[in-house]
């Protein structure tokens, strides 16, 4: 029960009133709560702007925090991160442009919902799911931190590859698109992931002597182009209008949506578990959202309807992404390994504030750690209230004529693409990906396998080769212990699930399941 005592000390730290000097005025106020609100609002804005991700936002503001107490500093920065997690969903749902990589899967059903005039409902579901996923992860961090840290230590290269494989298999194996189109999209995605410097040997691949191709294609650039620009091109062709402009704007939309959500408790629980698992291992929020979406699509009663505006298709990825985003902080605090790019920047912050992340942080800087954890609880609640009050306002954006909003979106996309690496070449690449996205949509090829192959291809290849270098080239390393064998076996089951379920049905003498 020591955890609870620590946690309540943490709450006391966060809620404490302090004498602070803001813009020259001496004030007595709960400074940390004030920082929390500022952080969340900034984070939501950062999350909305594609490209300007949480990692960039936190990095830019990091030096401002040097004159603060470490606890206040981390509250400000981590709340920016929570805010960015919330904000990423907004543009995914409204414009089919993922504000952050982990909200790609949210576009699959969130955008169709907005087009049907259900933007408010989709936003409410997304924000509420984010909240639940994050809350679940924080409870887990509170109760299980030391155990989870020990578990994370068991993940070497082979185990990590197995996790990527499982994420990949559960998305692709469960998909219902025509298999050859899926395969083609996937192969293009893997091919795109091979460009640039090979991290294993330092040699260059497919750079054609150009310095611009040295870093390869950034996933975010591809996503902004494929989804955002592709969508704008498509809308232009269809006559310059938003389909979602008849959106009902009603303050009751939040309450009405909430009434529907408890029915999806199993989706929530499953997505929370997937998210926490992917956050700790640490594969991160993006694979978690894809995996959760893929599994939900297969096991849901409404699986057929996924992709056409099914609310469960918003719940599953958002819950998992947030559970993963929060639990990614645990390996950072307990082991010093960042589970996400934003966590990597926060890690740098800890070092600059004079704190040493790792197994000793929990004992030596207990006030800091529990202050951070308490701020995760409170920041989450504050964040939910802030974003939910904005739902009607956000949904109203869709009433603005396309002719006005399209150039604005285009500008934000270009700025976002530039911000990722401060490179103008990326803006051109974004336009090229936009064209590719348009072609995919016109010819009915699925974009999701391409995007997933791009985000996982790079890292899965790395883990695969690290494992093989270590084992001297023997594939046995992927079945060398119970942990890795179990994950690999689950991956194969997911990959061949269609075949397996058809076989099972035949044995039982029934017709092959359609929704299963």
């Amino acid at each position: 029960m020591a955890e609870f005592a620590n946690l309540f000390n943490g709450f006391a730290t966060v809620l404490a009133f302090q004498d602070v000097n803001i813009f020259g005025t001496q004030m007595y106020l709960p400074f940390n709560v004030f920082l929390m609100v500022v952080g969340i609002v900034l984070g939501v804005i950062i999350g909305v702007l594609p490209g300007l991700g949480g990692a960039n936002g936190v990095a830019i503001l990091l030096p401002l925090t040097f004159s603060m107490q470490p606890t206040s500093a981390v509250i400000l920065l981590s709340c920016i991160y929570w805010g960015a997690l919330f904000g990423g969903a907004i543009t995914s749902i409204l414009f089919n442009i993922p504000g952050e990589p982990w909200s790609v899967a949210t576009t699959f059903d969130g955008y169709p919902m907005a087009q049907q005039g259900r933007a408010g409902e989709a936003l409410t579901a997304a924000f509420t799911s984010s909240f639940i996923g994050a809350f679940f992860a924080v409870i887990m961090i509170t109760l299980l931190a030391p155990m989870v840290a020990a578990f994370a230590l068991r993940f070497g290269a082979a185990e990590k590859f197995a996790v990527y494989f499982l994420a990949f298999a559960s998305f692709v194996g469960l998909s219902k698109e025509p298999p050859f189109k899926t395969l083609a999209a996937m192969v293009i995605g893997f091919a795109l992931a091979t460009f640039g410097t090979d991290h294993m040997t330092g040699s260059l691949r497919l750079t054609f002597g150009s310095q611009y191709l040295l870093p390869g294609f950034d996933f975010l650039i591809a996503v902004i182009g494929l989804f955002g620009i592709g969508e704008i091109l498509l809308t232009m062709e269809e006559g310059l209008k938003f389909k979602g402009k008849d959106a009902k704007i009603n303050l009751r939309v939040v309450l009405d949506t909430w009434k529907k959500l408890p029915a999806y408790w199993w989706t929530y629980l499953r997505s929370c578990l997937i998210g926490c698992w992917m956050g700790i291992t640490p594969a991160g929020a993006t694979p978690a959202s894809f995996m959760s979406y893929g599994i939900a699509k297969r096991v849901s009663k409404n699986g057929k309807n996924f992709g056409n505006g099914e609310i469960e298709g918003v719940i599953a990825p958002e819950t998992a992404a947030h559970a993963a985003g929060k639990s990614a902080l645990l390996p950072m605090l307990a082991l010093g390994v960042p589970g996400s790019p934003t966590a990597a920047v926060l890690l740098g912050g800890l070092l600059i504030w004079g704190l040493q992340p790792g197994p000793t942080l929990f004992t030596e800087n207990s006030e800091f750690v529990w202050g951070l954890i308490a701020s995760m609880y409170l920041g989450n609640v504050v964040g939910l209230i802030i974003v939910l009050t904005c739902v009607p306002l956000l949904a109203a954006i869709l009433r603005v004529p396309f002719g006005i909003i399209a150039p604005i979106i285009l500008m934000f996309c270009a700025v976002g693409a530039y911000t990722v690496r401060n490179s103008f070449f990326d803006v051109i690449m974004m336009l090229a990906f936009g064209l590719l996205g348009y072609l995919f949509k016109k010819t009915n090829y699925p974009l999701a396998p391409l995007v997933l192959a791009m985000v996982l291809g790079d890292r899965a290849e790395e883990a695969f080769r690290q494992a093989l270098v270590g084992s001297g080239g023997s594939l046995g390393v992927f079945f060398s212990n119970g942990l890795v064998s179990t994950i690999m076996a689950l991956g194969f089951i997911a990959l061949f699930w269609s075949v397996i379920s058809a076989g099972l049905s035949r044995i039982r003498g029934t017709a092959p399941a359609t929704a299963g």
Binding site: A59, L64, G156, A157, G202, L214, L335, Q356, G358
Partner: protein, 333 residues
């Protein structure tokens, strides 16, 4: 009316004259707009942390009238950042903080830049490297470790490929006549955890990347790749301090390696401009925040400017050339 106008004109001219005649005497150059620090590496790494710490220190202590921003240009093992600075000749508002990729990237990937393209400003510190093993392993010193390694099959985990960690590994192999399997990872923190989790047999992590696990009793330092032992006496793990780690040379492993944390300006920067930044970094070094940073990371705090710095850099370039040539890491295309 006319009279007064003429008077004010006269006053202005006189003031201008004074200002002009005054300029050569003080010869102070100062930044006229925001100063950019380019980091040729991603966010969260050692160079990035140092650049952001300096940005924070400069802002907190008001060391400069203009503000300072940090820009990451990590592409192509840092060449994106270096080529940007090389292409900004005559812009005194751009600096680059370097790590070993100042040498390894042009040698390993044939990118068209070299240390000679930049105007040297100052070395702020050198980052140390330590040979670490898992604390559960029986070998307590370098000799026992190398004997065990000679049986073969030892995995060395490190950051990146054909960069400092792999160069040190190659140097150990040559000096001790052993063979490691080098497995590259993306970041130092990840490398340390691979060792704690027994997925690797040794690492050459920087102090700050592994110190928490040492403190927690999971890792054991065997030797430091510096010419002398570290000057930090504060106890970290039991009775052991950074100063109690022997040098590798004293343990019979003749390998030394330190990583530059220094600044360069764009080509063609004037001596006045360089002097401004040297003075600025001197002020940064005097702050308590900087001292804390050095202490936490057990840095080698050698400070160098001018000719001495240039000579150090050019010597280091030759050394990297030789080390990389022997290891077969030089670019072939």
């Amino acid at each position: 009316m006319i009279q007064s106008k003429r008077n004010s004109l006269f006053v202005a001219a006189a003031a201008l004259g004074v200002a002009l005649s005054g300029t050569p005497a003080s010869a102070q150059w100062e930044p006229q707009r925001t100063v950019e620090i380019i980091v040729p590496a991603g966010t969260g790494g050692g160079a990035d942390q140092m650049a952001r710490a300096i940005q924070g220190i400069v802002a907190k202590h008001n060391l400069m009238k203009q503000s300072m921003i940090v820009v990451n240009k990590a592409g192509g093992a840092g060449s994106e950042g270096f080529l940007d600075v090389k292409g900004s000749a005559g812009n005194p508002h751009k600096l680059i903080i370097t790590l070993s990729n100042l040498f390894t990237t042009p040698l390993g990937t044939n990118q068209p830049f070299s240390y000679k393209d930049f105007t040297p400003v100052a070395m702020l510190a050198l980052d140390e490297f330590v040979l670490w093993v898992n604390a559960e392993k029986p070998y307590k010193n370098v000799k026992e470790f190398l004997e065990a390694a000679k049986k073969g099959g030892f995995k060395m985990a490190g950051t990146g490929s054909r960069q400092e960690d792999q160069i040190i590994t190659a140097a150990i192999e040559k000096a001790a006549g052993v063979k490691f399997t080098y497995v590259p990872y993306r970041g130092g923190g990840e490398v340390a955890v691979q060792l704690v989790g027994n997925h690797a047999d040794a690492t050459v992590n920087n102090p700050i990347e592994a110190v928490a696990h040492w403190k927690g009793g999971k890792l054991r330092p065997l030797c430091v790749f510096d010419g002398k032992t570290l000057p930090y006496n504060e106890k970290i793990a039991g009775d052991a301090a950074w100063s109690s780690i022997p040098t590798c040379k004293s343990q019979g492993l003749d390998v030394e390696y330190l990583m530059l944390r220094g600044f360069f300006m764009t080509p063609g920067a004037t001596p006045e401009q360089v002097k401004f930044y040297v003075d600025l970094f001197q002020k940064v070094r005097a702050t308590p925040e900087w001292k804390d940073l050095m202490n936490n990371g057990a840095f080698n705090t050698t400070f160098m400017t001018g000719k001495e710095y240039v000579e150090w850099v050019s010597k280091e370039h030759t050394r990297h050339l030789n080390l990389m040539k022997e290891a077969g890491f030089l670019s072939t295309n």
